[in-house]
């Protein structure tokens, strides 16, 4: 019985995390969404009797993929539609003129 409950809960959580990471405008939270997807995926693999793959997904998906995304966000923008950046540029221009 626990198998089915766990299965359904994890399935719902997995899809929720995936949708959250796609829809969210702030990229940092979107990347955290992918991290959560990897965590639940690793548990899923453990449930499906695949310990090797669970360990790989845990090590590769949660730790390294998330850190690479965060480094990329550090070097690009954090906001998806880049409105905040434009405001900053506007502010810098006004400071220069004043």
């Amino acid at each position: 019985m626990i198998f089915i409950i766990l299965l359904i809960v994890m399935a719902v959580l997995l899809l929720a995390a995936a949708i959250y990471s796609i829809v969210n405008r702030d990229l940092l939270f979107a990347v955290m969404g992918t991290g959560i997807v990897s965590v639940i995926l690793s548990l899923f693999f453990y449930l499906l009797q695949a310990p090797d793959v669970a360990l790989t997904e845990a090590a590769m998906g949660i730790a390294l993929t998330t850190i690479i995304f965060i480094i990329t966000i550090r070097n690009t923008t954090r906001d998806e539609n880049e409105i905040i950046d434009k405001e900053e540029e506007m502010k810098m221009k006004t400071d220069k003129e004043s």
């Binding site: 090797d52 360990l55 590769m60 730790a63 390294l64 690479i68 480094i71 070097n75």
Partner: protein, 239 residues
Amino acid sequence: MKQVFIIILLIIIGYFLANTFVEIPFGGNRIGNVESNETVAGYYLSNTAKKTGVANVITAIVVNYRGLDTLGEVTVLFLATTGLASILYRRKEEEEDTERLNLPSSRIMRSGVRVLFPAIVLLGIYVFIHGHLTPGGGFQGGTIVATGFLLMLISYKGFNTDHNRMVWIESLAGLSFVGIGIWGLLSGNTFLENTTNIGVVNSLISGGLIPIIYIVVGFKVAVELTGILDILLKIKPKK
């Protein structure tokens, strides 16, 4: 308009995949009875312990039965590192300074990492040394060691992996993996063949060359991933 078109496209693809997977029963036994070798998985399950002396069937498949895949796998990671280095390469005159832009990490982080780092690296090494007995192996162990180095790279500005030694380890590990393959050819059998004796199944020294290959893969993956993280951490954001 475009959104509607894409959603329709996705529904069609979803329907298409769904009714192919309706015919594939979940949890159904597709291996057939294990002894008769009409499916490959049945052969692996029934013969791994006897023929390769390795307890973890997946390690036997990844390293020995399908050894060329893993060799291709290690080259993919090696080429990703080289490709990354060439994409983000800054020529000598462009480079102001090569040390990382580290935000000052808090005291808790620094002391915590000092304790955690040896533990993580030890865990990683344990995982890839026992690849043939317990779940895990070269790839998983290497990644865990790389996360250990990542923690150090983030929290200590002064901590720098010695580039020269890393290149040496990476090349030697790759060469020894291919060397084991060539040694199989030289000794008259096929490439990557497990020629040494395979020992008792669940003992540490068992499975002949398989644990050695997985340890070599573990070192290579650890060094390559640390290299990728090092290159990425060295980029300066424009602002």
